[in-house]
C-alpha cells in the first residue's frame, strides 16, 4: 500500500509542473509552473475559461497525462518511483469522471458489465455473488435505485444524468481516494445537476474522498466547494487560489475580479446591480502567443507598463487575506528583480 499516507501529507502534489503539446509543429505551453496540492477528503475547484489548462491539470492529477517537466508527488513520493503492483494500486486511487455523459460509457456493454470489469480485474470481490452484491451496492451508493432497473441496461437506454451517476459508480469500483470531476455536470440539465452534486458531496463525506472539481461555472464552483478551495487559472497558470468564501466575496487578482463581476446571476436584482469591470481588450490571446510577463497584462485594467509586461508573477500569499495570488501589484515581495 501507499507509504506515509497520513492526513498531513497531501494525497497528490504538483510541483512546478509544466506541460506542453505540439500541434502542427507549434509548441503550445498548456500548463506552466503549476503548484497545487490536494489533501485527503478535500474539495478543490479549478475554474477558468477554455484553454486555461484546467482539464490538462485534471488529467495530470488523474495520471492520464504525464508532465513535461516538474514533479508530481503522490503520497509524498514522485509518481515515477512507483513500480509494479504498487503503481497499479496508486493508479486506482486517482479516478476521473468525464464531462460528456454520452461518450463516457462504452455503448457495447451493459451497466453491470461496465462495473464488473474493474472489480474482476483487480480481484476486489471474492466470488460471483460478491461481485453482484457489490455492483448492487455501488448503484445504490450513487442513488441509482432500484439497481435492478439499471444493471442490465445499455448506456443508450439511460438519461444523461443516470449515465453520469454510472460514471461515478465506475470510478468508485476501485475505491479511489480522489476523483477528478471534469465538468461532470455541465452537460446535464439544471434540474438534474444539483442532485448529482449532492451525491458527490455525500460520497465525499461517507467515503472520505477528495474531489477535484473542474468547471467553467463560477456559481456552481461556489455552491459545490463552499467548504473547500477554488483555484482560478488563466492561460496555463494558476493566478489565484484560496478558500472558496474569500475567493468569491473578496477576490484579489484582477482576472478573478473581472470574472466574478462578469458572471450573470439568477436573480434580476443582483445581476442588474453588479458593477462590471471594463477590460482593456476583449480578446483572449492564443496559446501560441502568450504575452510576456503576466499573461493577463494586455487585458488587465490595473496594468503597469514596464512591470506587468516584464515580470512573470509567482503565486505568493497576499498580506491580510487568505488567498495566494500571482500579481506583482499585490505581492510587493517580487519587485526588485
Amino acid at each position: 500500500m501507499m507509504p506515509n499516507t497520513t492526513s498531513t501529507t497531501p494525497l497528490i502534489e504538483l510541483r512546478g509542473v509544466h506541460r506542453q503539446f505540439e500541434v502542427d509543429g507549434v509548441v503550445l505551453p498548456v500548463l506552466q509552473d503549476i503548484n497545487l496540492s490536494v489533501n485527503p477528503n478535500e474539495i478543490i475547484c479549478l475554474v477558468g475559461e477554455s484553454g486555461c489548462g484546467k482539464t490538462t491539470t485534471g488529467k495530470i492529477i488523474a495520471g492520464l497525462l504525464g508532465q513535461s517537466s516538474g514533479e508530481v508527488l503522490v503520497g509524498g513520493k514522485p509518481r515515477e518511483q512507483y513500480t509494479g503492483p504498487e503503481r497499479s494500486v496508486l493508479r486506482r486511487q486517482l479516478q476521473i469522471v468525464h464531462q460528456d455523459p454520452f461518450a463516457s460509457l462504452n455503448p457495447a456493454h451493459t451497466i453491470g458489465d461496465i462495473l464488473s470489469f474493474p472489480l474482476k480485474r483487480h480481484k476486489l470481490v471474492k466470488d460471483r455473488a460478491d461481485l453482484r452484491r457489490r455492483i448492487w451496492e455501488l448503484l445504490t451508493l450513487v442513488d441509482l435505485t432500484p439497481p435492478g432497473d439499471i444493471v442490465n441496461k445499455y448506456p443508450h437506454q439511460l438519461s444523461g444524468g443516470q449515465r453520469q451517476r454510472v460514471s461515478i459508480a465506475r470510478a468508485l469500483t476501485v475505491q479511489p481516494k480522489l476523483i477528478v470531476a471534469d465538468e461532470a455536470v455541465s452537460m446535464v440539465d439544471v434540474s438534474i445537476r444539483v442532485s448529482i452534486l449532492k451525491t458527490l458531496h455525500r460520497l465525499k463525506d461517507e467515503l472520505g474522498l477528495a474531489i477535484v472539481f473542474i468547471t467553467h461555472d463560477l456559481a456552481l464552483a461556489k455552491y459545490f466547494a463552499w467548504e473547500g478551495r477554488i483555484g482560478v487559472m488563466y492561460l496555463g497558470r494558476m493566478v489565484e487560489i484560496g478558500p472558496t468564501p474569500d475567493m468569491i466575496l473578496n477576490p484579489q487578482h484582477p482576472y478573478t475580479r473581472a470574472l466574478m463581476a462578469a458572471v450573470p446571476e439568477a436573480d434580476p436584482d443582483i445581476t442588474r446591480r453588479k458593477k462590471h469591470i471594463e477590460l482593456r481588450s476583449d480578446e483572449i490571446p492564443r496559446l501560441s502567443e502568450i504575452p510576456h510577463g503576466c499573461a493577463f497584462h494586455p487585458r488587465c485594467p490595473q496594468f503597469l507598463g514596464g512591470k506587468c509586461d516584464v515580470i512573470v508573477p509567482p503565486l505568493l500569499p497576499v498580506p491580510g487575506v487568505t488567498q495566494t495570488v500571482a500579481c506583482v501589484n499585490l505581492t510587493p515581495a517580487t519587485v526588485g528583480d
Partner: protein, 391 residues
C-alpha cells in the same frame, strides 16, 4: 470449406439433434426445431466448423427464448438484504448465453427489417448454398459431350431447354453445372483473401494507432506507398511474374494488395476511439491494454471491420475473375472466369445460341457481387449496440 459430405451430414444431424434436445428440455419447441434445421444444414454444408458455430448460436438463441421470464436477482426491486446474489457457474453461463442469444435475435431482427440488406443476405446465402449443396443435385460435366450435337447444327452450343436450363457450352456441356461448380474456388479464395487482408489491416492499424512513433510512421508510409501504385496493373504484373498455381497464393496476394485502405481506416478509428472518454476511464481504472483493445475498442469496430471485409471479398472476387478473363493466370475449370474467357475466345458473344454460355457466369458474378454490396449496407445496423436492450 464448402461442400457436402456424408461426414458433414452426420455432424449436422448430431448438432441439430443437440439443438432440438435443448429446445425440448427448455420447453422451447419452435426455436428448438429452427435450431435443428439450421444446425443440420450448416453442418452438412460446411462440416464441423459450420456445425459447431451454428450449434453455439442456436443454443444461445434457444436459451434466450427460455430466459425471457426467468427472474434474475439483479432485476429484483427488493432491498439489498433480501436479495440472494449467489449464482452457480451453470446459471451464470446460461445467463451469458441468453444474453448473446438475445443479441443474435435483435441483430436478426435488424437484418430482416432492412429490406435491401435482407435481399443481399438472401443472395449471399443462395450462392453459398448453391456451392455447398449444388453437387447433391447436379453432376459436374468436365469432358466434351459430342453426343448432344443437334442434327444440322454447326456447333455444340445450345440455348436453354428443359433438360439444360442454362444451355450448353462449346463442348456441349451443361452451363448450369459449370455455374454451380465454378463459383466454389472463387468464393472460398475471395473469402480467404478478405480474411487475410482484414487480419493484416486490423493488426497493423491497431499497432500503428496504439504504439505511435516510428511503428506508426513505417506502417503508415508503407500503406500510403502501396495505395499509390494502381492496384489492378500491379496485380497484373505480379500475377504474370509469380505465375500462381495454388489458389491460396492468390488469396495471399490479394490480402497483400488490399490491406492498406482498411489499415488506414482502422488506424483512424482506433485513434479516435482511443480519445474516447470511456477508453480514458479504462486507462484510469488500470484495466490493462488487452482489455482496452478487446473489450472497449474492438466491439465498437466490428461493424466497420465486417463491412470492409465484405468490400475486400468483392475486390478479390473482381480481380480473380478479371485475371482469368484476361488469360493472365493458368486456366483451371470449373471457374466462372474461365467460362467467360472461353466464351470470348470461342466467339460465343456473337451468336444467339452461344450467348447463353456467357450469360450464366456473367449473371452469377453480377448477382453475387450485388448481393454482397446490399448485404454490407445493412451490416452497420446489425452490429449497432444501440439496438440492444439488456435482458
Amino acid at each position: 470449406m464448402i461442400g457436402v459430405s456424408s461426414v458433414g451430414l452426420v455432424i449436422g444431424l448430431v448438432c441439430g439433434g443437440l439443438a432440438l434436445a435443448l429446445g425440448i428440455y427448455l420447453k422451447q419447441l419452435r426455436p428448438g426445431i429452427t435450431g435443428f434445421i439450421v444446425c443440420t444444414i450448416a453442418g452438412f454444408g460446411c462440416s464441423i466448423i459450420g456445425g459447431l458455430i451454428a450449434l453455439f448460436v442456436m443454443a444461445a438463441v434457444i436459451i434466450s427464448h427460455a430466459y425471457v421470464d426467468r427472474q434474475d436477482p439483479f432485476t429484483s426491486r427488493a432491498k439489498l438484504e433480501e436479495v440472494d446474489f449467489s449464482e452457480t457457474t451453470a446459471q451464470s453461463t446460461m445467463r451469458r448465453l441468453a444474453n448473446f442469444g438475445n443479441t443474435v435475435r435483435v441483430s436478426w431482427g435488424a437484418l430482416v427489417r432492412n429490406k435491401a440488406g435482407f435481399i443481399g443476405f438472401l443472395g449471399v446465402t443462395f450462392f453459398l448454398a448453391m456451392s455447398a449443396f449444388g453437387p447433391l443435385f447436379i453432376e459436374y460435366e468436365g469432358s466434351a459431350q459430342f453426343s448432344r450435337r443437334v442434327d444440322g447444327a454447326r456447333s455444340l452450343f445450345q440455348a436453354p431447354s428443359a433438360e439444360f436450363p442454362l444451355g450448353l457450352d462449346w463442348q456441349g456441356r451443361s452451363v448450369l453445372s459449370h455455374v454451380v461448380y465454378g463459383g466454389r474456388i472463387l468464393i472460398v479464395t475471395s473469402i480467404q483473401a478478405g480474411l487475410a487482408a482484414t487480419a493484416v489491416a486490423v493488426l497493423f492499424g491497431s499497432l500503428a494507432a496504439l504504439m505511435g512513433g516510428w511503428v506508426d510512421g513505417i506502417l503508415s508510409a508503407l500503406a500510403n506507398f502501396i495505395l499509390t501504385i494502381p492496384q489492378f496493373p500491379l496485380l497484373l504484373v505480379l500475377a504474370s511474374v509469380i505465375q500462381f498455381t495454388d489458389p491460396i497464393q492468390m488469396a495471399l496476394l490479394f490480402g497483400f494488395l488490399n490491406w492498406p485502405t482498411l489499415m488506414r481506416a482502422v488506424r483512424a478509428q482506433v485513434l479516435s476511439l482511443r480519445e474516447r472518454d470511456y477508453v480514458e476511464a479504462a486507462f484510469a481504472l488500470d484495466l490493462g491494454l488487452w482489455h482496452i483493445i478487446s473489450r472497449e475498442v474492438f466491439p465498437n469496430m466490428v461493424s466497420y471491420i465486417a463491412v470492409n471485409l465484405i468490400f475486400t471479398v468483392r475486390t478479390a472476387l473482381y480481380g480473380l475473375v478479371a485475371l482469368v478473363v484476361l488469360g493472365i493466370v493458368p486456366l483451371q475449370e470449373p471457374d466462372w472466369g474461365v467460362m467467360i474467357f472461353m466464351g470470348r475466345s470461342q466467339g460465343a458473344l456473337f451468336s444467339q445460341e452461344a450467348i447463353w454460355m456467357m450469360l450464366g457466369p456473367i449473371l452469377a458474378i453480377a448477382l453475387f457481387q450485388l448481393s454482397l454490396v446490399l448485404f454490407s449496407r445493412s451490416l452497420e445496423e446489425v452490429f449497432n449496440p444501440r439496438l440492444r436492450s439488456g435482458l
